[in-house]
């Protein structure tokens, strides 16, 4: 157990109800894991191993059936729905496989969306959006709608949206799963930069070993159990 852990998971289990069946994804005695602040962790494993479930628990999108989940020193498993929503808006950035941008909004407005939850002035929001788009190299595409951008560009917009409110944690669910190798490398390089230069703690689910190579550590999940395989950063 590390005292400077960004993420502390203790004996966490998670079971879903699918119809009348109860399916345990993370089963007893429960998963325990520490992720140090500033780490870049790749979560790998076969389908159904519990990678996305674990990522959802870390990102506060779901609650464990039992056990404790602390992120940045806060017990998020005890939070109510409303408190968890507020916590997510302040502490976590999300990057999805299929970008999940709002098709009706331009790139800059997509990036601005999380800032609507803050008390920032319009001018301050615009400034932050411009910086975020600059970081991901898309300042010149600010007014384009997602449909007018390539897959790689859309994922950059999604990353800008994830970092615009300056969260300490980024959770990425197969961020390169829909991209070609070259574009995937660009996106992974960007994530690596955010980790190295901006100190973001990143947890990334991936099936791709080449993608996992960009992380500082790789964790393997199989049937809800964990095995670590350190890789060179």
């Amino acid at each position: 157990m590390t005292t400077d852990a960004m993420i502390q998971i203790r004996n966490v289990t998670k079971a879903y109800e699918r119809g009348r069946q109860k399916v345990a994804v993370l089963h007893e005695p429960g998963l325990t894991l520490d992720v140090p602040r500033g780490d870049f962790v790749a979560l790998m494993g076969p389908s159904g191993s519990g990678k996305t479930t674990l990522l959802n628990l870390i990102g506060g999108l779901d609650s464990p059936t039992s056990g404790e989940v602390s992120v940045g020193g806060q017990r998020i498993d005890r939070m109510s729905g409303g408190a968890l929503a507020k916590w997510r808006s302040q502490n976590v950035g999300f990057v999805f496989q299929f970008y999940n941008l709002m098709p009706v909004l331009s790139a800059e407005r997509n990036v601005e969306l999380p800032l609507l939850l803050t008390n920032l002035s319009s001018a301050e929001r615009k400034k932050r959006v411009a910086i975020a788009l600059e970081v991901v190299g898309l300042a010149d595409r600010a007014r384009h709608k997602p449909g007018e951008l390539s897959g790689g560009q859309q994922q950059r917009v999604a990353i800008a949206r994830a970092i615009v409110s300056d969260p300490s944690l980024l959770v990425c669910d197969e961020p390169t799963g829909d991209l070609d190798r070259h574009t995937a490398d660009e996106i992974l390089g960007l994530l690596q930069t955010l980790n190295r230069d901006h100190g973001k703690t990143i947890v990334m689910v991936t099936h791709d070993q080449l993608a996992a190579n960009y992380a500082r550590h790789t964790l393997h999940l199989d049937k809800g159990e964990l095995a670590e395989q350190p890789v060179a950063a």
Binding site: N56, G59, L61, D62, G81, G82, A85, K86, W87, R88, S89, Q90, F94, F96, N100, M102, P103, V104, L105, R109, E112, L113, P114, L116, L117, R161
Partner: protein, 386 residues
């Protein structure tokens, strides 16, 4: 970008669908504004009329004339100060076949019982002394371009003269105004001499359609009404006595229960509208389940997401309602102007108030279920497409 901007942007994700939906809301509210105003006219009828007069007509229908021999009997009822009477003439102006609301009256009784009709005294006297005399309301006279001293040829679809001719010629001896703005709007009728009419027409003699009873100060209108009807109970001329306001409303409703007709039309329109807009909203939310889940992921609360969907429904209904009611107001004014004030459709403040209630009710009816669905979305399931 603001939250309101986000709502508007979402509304226009399917421009054609939203435009068609908004058009249907606009059409519904235009109809609502016009019909509700019409209904208001028929329901409110003559709110400005006080309760100082009672109207007595035949119990079966006012088309059944009552004998003039009732005048002294009615004048003898305690609490009745003065009595006037009116006979429907049903004239058509021969120049352009315009229908004219004409009544045969006793001039001085009319003057006495209806102080709201204002005219120089010498014109009242001229009306009383001229057998073929006629007075016209200001609004009507202005519309027709009539001047005092002019001969007005009218034909009657109901009453031929004794020589068989349906053509009547009257001398316009006065133009009356209304004592208030409300009464001024009503100056669209014509009065002719009952005595002349009674002698000259082929059918009716010594009879009239209804009586106007002016009540003495402090008289009990309900008691007088009962007393009058009791007096003619079981006689060949049974009566129905009611307040002037009720009488006017009843007169307008001869063509049917307008209120009921209007309510059914509006019910059909809004029921269809609920299906159209409700379907649009439900479809819109169904298409956006992953996007709504992303909003929640970013930190928007369940209540915020509910608010976004309700706001979309509200914006649709509010915009359509405002434009629709605006059009109804304009069309109403055009109709009023086009008919020279004869048919006044005033989309008044109460009608706007009802429209506001309809907008809120419709927003809740079409938006609440999709909004609740959005509120209850579980992020993990929605993102996974479950």
């Amino acid at each position: 970008m603001t939250k309101a901007g986000f709502v508007v942007a979402n509304l226009f994700r399917k421009k054609t669908r939203t435009t068609l939906t908004v058009l249907s809301v606009i059409a519904a509210f235009t109809l609502f504004g016009l019909l509700q105003s019409l209904n208001h006219i028929f329901d409110a009828g003559a709110d400005f009329i006080g309760a100082t007069r009672l109207m007595t007509q035949a119990r079966v229908s006012f088309t059944q004339p009552l004998p003039l021999s009732m005048v002294p009997q009615l004048e003898g009822v305690p609490g009745v100060a003065h009595v006037a009477y009116m006979q429907w003439f049903g004239g058509v102006w021969k120049k352009d076949n315009s229908p004219i609301f004409a009544f045969a009256v006793d001039p001085m009784r009319q003057h006495q019982v209806y102080p709201e009709w204002v005219m120089p005294e010498d014109q009242w006297q001229a009306f009383a002394k001229t057998r073929t005399g006629m007075i016209a309301g200001r609004v009507l006279a202005d519309r027709m371009g009539w001047k005092v001293g002019q001969k007005i040829p009218l034909s009657s679809n109901i009453f031929p003269q004794k020589n068989g001719s349906k053509d009547w010629t009257f001398d316009l001896v006065g133009i009356y105004d209304g004592s208030t703005e409300d009464w001024q709007k009503q100056t669209q009728n014509v009065f002719i001499q009952h005595e002349y009419f009674d002698e000259a027409n082929q059918f009716s003699s010594g009879r009239t359609n209804f009586y106007a009873l002016q009540l003495a100060d402090g008289a009990d209108a309900a008691a007088i009404s009962r007393a009058v009807d009791k007096m003619y109970e079981n006689s060949p001329d049974e009566t129905k006595t009611q307040t002037e306001k009720d009488f006017n409303v009843g007169f307008l409703k001869q063509i049917g229960d307008i209120g009921m007709i209007v309510r059914w039309i509006l019910f059909a329109v809004f029921f269809t509208l609920l299906l159209v807009v409700g379907n649009t909203m439900a479809q819109s939310v169904r298409e956006r389940v992953p996007e709504l889940a992303v909003l929640k992921t970013l930190g928007f609360s369940d209540a915020s997401v509910l608010g976004f969907v309700l706001a979309e429904a509200g914006a649709l209904c509010l915009f359509g309602g405002l434009v629709g009611m605006g059009l109804a107001t304009v069309f109403g004014a055009m109709i009023s102007k086009g008919t020279g004030g004869q048919f006044t459709i005033d989309v008044s403040l109460p009608v706007w108030g009802m429209a506001a209630v309809a907008v809120v009710a419709m927003t809740l009816a079409v938006g609440l279920l999709p909004a609740l669905r959005a509120q209850r979305l579980k992020i993990v399931d929605a993102l996974a497409g479950r």
